[in-house]
């Protein structure tokens, strides 16, 4: 399909949808209302599960909190439904923040299990609270009114529901294309890389979780005033898994997939309710069985859902060009030759193994220092202690006069240390530009609300330009919108350097940057590191490739068996008998 055909198709669909109350039967409009209400929840799951990789079976409970909050306020206290909306949002927001604060540190499959637990707890709470009418629920929920216009008719609330859905989709799309959205997208694949850029994975998880819950809360508010009645039944774990399946069916990483999934499942359910009674008196139970079969088959054969399939037939959206923009603010670099990183008596043991013993060295601003040693010498441990991935047992690490021992990767990143990884940690499904943009996180400010309202564009242009400059600088500027996963491994290491540079560090710590590079690429890398040195950026590299190290560093620290062997200029180190013995074995 051409772009024009797609636009035409989209306009037609929107027109048909907008006119639905005029051409469709009341029952169809009701069905569309339900699809809209479900879509809101599923958009949250797309964000939470599809994008951020956090699986929740409990979203239905948040819908319930929203629905019960407004139903209680508008029936028991006869308040306006709009107050009910505020109350519903406040309550779901607080509940999500509390639940999230306790559970979002859980790793692996423990988090989804926890969602079943709190999902059930909240569900049982609804059914057992006297004020909420126990299992009978609350009846007589008033319809929403805008001024004097009552939204009681199915056709009237239809517009409200779908306008909210549309706004939610735009909001989430805006969010994903922003500083915070990139952080959300980077959550999948582990928190270590994210943390090394000064992004708190836990905070981003909590924000994502709360946004998803708020969308569910709005859905609950609409549901309560649409059906005019709430009872515990639609807020159980079974509905929770149906929401999750809507997201998976639609294609869990795509916002449009939320509508597609919600529509498909709702329509299929409706169709089954018409057909199944012909086969059995107990249509209801057959429906559950048929759905279980559909779920299992879908998960076995089509885990990607509908959207990836549909996208193949749609033209690629063109990426906005990267425009010239004012540079992001830069830090003032320390005076050349002043002590930058001072490591003293550093020690780390793993059980009985003393990986690092009494290691101390100093790096001065503007130097390139190499940390070398045979396998198992403790280089990587020292590296991880400096960058905060490991906590030391003893000793101190001072950076720019501040103690950064055991403060954790987030504060180390903020202090001005950027790093790369021995096992490359990039986000393969994000573009080169987006990967590097992650590095600018600490240099930019835009929060969730500014991103959703698109008030972050000026800053975003500056960040994009900065990231592109860094890409060009490392020699990857040709195709900034290509997926990072398509780069060969050696180039992925270079991409990590660009990401580290985008953070405007005072010290950049590189873990085997030359591994997997061809000879010309190594020469280019050496030139790059020397250029950094000219800009007063200090470089510490851990490297195996002797020729590469000897050619560019000012000084070398040699480690063996967890202790520092010698320290000095490349020539001195090369001549040292201890080093020769460590590398080549003793001369008999």
């Amino acid at each position: 399909m051409s772009r024009r055909a797609v636009s035409l198709f989209a306009v037609t669909v929107i027109a048909i949808m907008a006119a639905a109350p005029f051409w469709a039967a009341a029952f169809t409009v009701t069905l569309l209302n339900y699809i809209g209400v479900y879509t809101l929840v599923v958009i949250g799951i797309v964000l939470l599960t599809g994008v951020a990789g956090l699986t929740s079976f409990g979203q239905a409970a948040f819908v319930g909190i929203g629905a019960y909050a407004t139903a209680w306020l508008t029936t028991v206290h006869a308040a306006s439904p709009w107050l009910g909306l505020l109350f519903a949002l406040a309550l779901t927001g607080v509940a999500a923040a509390l639940i999230g604060a306790v559970t979002l540190r859980l790793g692996g499959h423990f988090l989804p299990l926890a969602t079943i637990a709190w999902g059930l707890s909240i569900f049982f709470l609804f059914g057992n609270m006297e004020a909420l009418g126990r299992n009978n629920g609350l009846t007589g929920v008033p319809p929403i009114a805008i001024g004097s216009i009552s939204l009681e008719p199915t056709a009237a609330i239809y517009y409200l529901i779908w306008i909210v859905v549309l706004l939610a989709m735009i909001a989430v799309a805006n969010l994903l294309d922003s500083r915070q959205g990139r952080a959300i997208r980077s959550l999948r694949g582990g928190a270590v890389m994210v943390g090394s850029l000064g992004i708190s994975a836990f905070r981003i998880r909590l924000v994502t979780f709360t946004i998803a819950a708020l969308l569910a809360g709005i859905s609950g508010w609409l549901y309560a005033h649409m059906s005019r009645f709430v009872s515990p039944a639609p807020f159980g774990v079974r509905m929770g898994i149906e929401y999750l399946f809507m997201a998976i069916l639609g294609g869990s990483g795509h916002i449009m997939g939320a509508v597609v999934g919600a529509a498909l499942l709702t329509l299929a359910k409706n169709a089954l309710q018409d057909v199944l009674p012909y086969f059995s008196r107990n249509g209801g139970q057959l429906e559950v069985i048929v759905f279980a079969i559909i779920y299992v088959l879908a998960l076995q054969f089509a885990r990607g859902g509908v959207m990836p399939f549909a996208l193949r037939y749609l033209p690629r959206r063109e990426k906005p060009p990267i425009a010239q923009a004012a540079p992001l603010p830069k830090r003032s670099m320390p005076q050349r030759g002043t002590p930058l990183l001072v490591v003293e008596r550093l020690a780390k043991r793993f059980g009985g193994l003393e990986a690092v013993r009494q290691v101390g060295f100093e790096i001065r601003a503007g130097e390139i220092v190499g940390l070398i040693g045979p396998n198992g010498a403790g280089k990587s441990t020292v590296f991880n202690l400096i960058t905060g991935s490991l906590a030391s047992d003893a000793g101190t690490i001072m950076f720019l006069g501040k103690d950064i021992t055991r403060v954790g990767p987030l504060r180390i990143a903020r202090a001005g240390i950027a790093r790369t990884f021995q096992h490359v940690r990039i986000r393969a499904s994000m573009s080169l530009l987006d990967n590097v943009l992650l590095g600018t996180y600490l240099r930019t400010r835009a929060g969730v609300f500014r991103s959703i309202a698109r008030l972050d564009r000026a800053e975003e242009r500056r960040a994009r330009f900065e990231a592109w400059l860094q890409l060009k600088r490392v020699g990857l500027g040709a195709n900034p919108h290509d997926l990072a996963g398509n780069l060969p491994l050696g180039q992925q290491r270079i991409l990590e350097i660009a990401r580290a540079l985008a953070a405007d560090p005072a010290l950049i710590v590189l873990d085997e940057p030359a591994a997997g590079l061809s000879r010309p690429e190594k020469i280019a890398l050496a030139d790059l590191l020397r250029a950094l040195c000219d800009e007063d950026i200090t470089v510490l590299l851990v490297e195996h490739d002797m020729e590469f190290v000897m050619g560019i560093v000012d000084r070398i620290v040699v480690m063996d068996f967890g202790v520092k062997l010698v320290e000095g200029t490349p020539a001195a180190v090369r001549a040292d008998p201890q080093v020769q013995e460590a590398y080549l074995g003793s001369v008999a």
Binding site: V102, G107, L120, N128, I241
Partner: protein, 350 residues
């Protein structure tokens, strides 16, 4: 609360806890071998109790139809699998394993329908009827994705739970049943009375807990089973077949589930969907043990039983909220104990 009441609640809690122990052990057994968090396991327990109730009433248990339909589907799945693998000669064996074997007890029950079986035969027949359900489900829905992430297996397993409860309603109907007590002695120790039923429950849990612990911690085959879960490829390389060990785990666990069902039948009225909550509570216990430790599961499941018992004295309506609410701090402690390992997050579409 007087000490007497506390004592009664305590004994009650330990009795219920014993059932959770057996179900929890089954869950851990399945998880530690196949990495499947088998949420429908509670349904096996409920179906076992309902099967025995039907046999005692001289009716044909719904299990017969359940097993028959699962066996037919499994046969189709197995045939397609071997056909596509280009090994049609293995279809025959597959059909015997997944078609003929599970149908033998079903056929016996079908032939005996209407006649009242002697009591000594009812329990073994119940166990034999219930035993194939979980392995058949595993073959149909879980084996084809055995190499997928724990998360995907969990999602499928949650979906299966709802499907199974639908099948339960279809084959067992909506009414609840209570089976005849197996024993009815009452022992008095001072102010405390303990029924022989309670002793039976606690005793069975103790025996099975001990057996599983010994098997997995002390025997070679047990260690082989555990190796499969840790690294399927590695296990395959050293000659352990993950498919076989998986089936074995599901069979062993089903045995536990069937016995738990027989033991709980006389004390609680069981419905077709009682299994879900029962399974989840056992699950809370298993998670307290980290989903991997048998002794830990025993302690955890007993704790859940006690907590439930005391919570229902305090506020019977909110006891479920308390039990599931307990899971969250437990999970948190578990997760922190595991440390901040930077595991690659599991992907649904991965």
């Amino acid at each position: 609360m007087t000490p007497d009441i506390a004592l009664i609640l305590g004994i009650d809690g330990i009795a219920t806890g014993s059932i959770y122990v057996m179900v929890g052990l089954g869950l851990v057994l399945i998880f530690s071998v196949t990495r499947v968090i088998f949420v429908p396991f509670g349904d096996i327990v409920a179906f076992s109790a309902l099967t025995l109730a039907s046999l005692q009433l001289g009716r044909l248990p719904g299990t017969v139809y359940l097993v028959a339909s699962l066996a037919v589907v499994a046969c189709v799945v197995v045939s397609i699998h071997y056909w596509r693998q280009g090994q049609p000669q293995r279809i025959g064996r597959g059909l015997v394993g997944y078609g003929v074997l599970p149908l033998i007890p079903a056929a016996i029950a079908w032939l005996c329908a209407g006649t009242s079986l002697p009591e000594w035969a009812q329990i073994p027949l119940t166990v034999a009827l219930v035993l194939p359900i979980a392995p058949l489900i595993e073959r149909i829905a879980l084996r084809p994705i055995a190499d997928a992430s724990v998360l995907l297996l969990l999602i499928v397993s949650v979906a299966l739970t709802f499907g199974l409860s639908g099948l339960g309603l279809l084959f067992f109907g909506p009414e609840g049943f209570r089976t005849k007590p197996l024993t009815s002695e009452i022992f008095r120790f001072g102010a405390v009375t303990v029924t022989s039923q309670t002793l039976l429950m606690v005793g069975s849990a103790a025996v099975f807990g001990l057996l599983l612990f010994l098997f997995f911690e002390r025997s070679f085959s047990g260690k082989a089973l555990r190796a499969t879960a840790i690294n399927r490829l590695g296990a395959r390389i050293v000659g352990i077949r993950p498919a076989t060990t998986g089936t074995l785990a599901f069979l062993l666990a089903s045995l536990l589930g069937a016995i738990a069902g027989i033991l709980i039948g006389p004390v609680t009225t069981m419905y077709y969907d009682s299994g879900f909550i029962l399974g989840l509570k056992a699950f809370v216990g298993a998670i307290i043990g980290g989903l991997l430790s048998y002794p830990g599961t025993v302690v955890g499941a007993l704790l859940v039983g006690l907590l439930e018992s005391f919570a229902s004295f305090w506020n019977s309506a909110l006891k479920e909220v308390v039990v599931f609410g307990l899971l969250i701090p437990v999970l948190l402690a578990r997760s922190l104990a595991l440390g901040q390992a930077d595991e690659e997050d599991a992907e649904i579409d991965g």
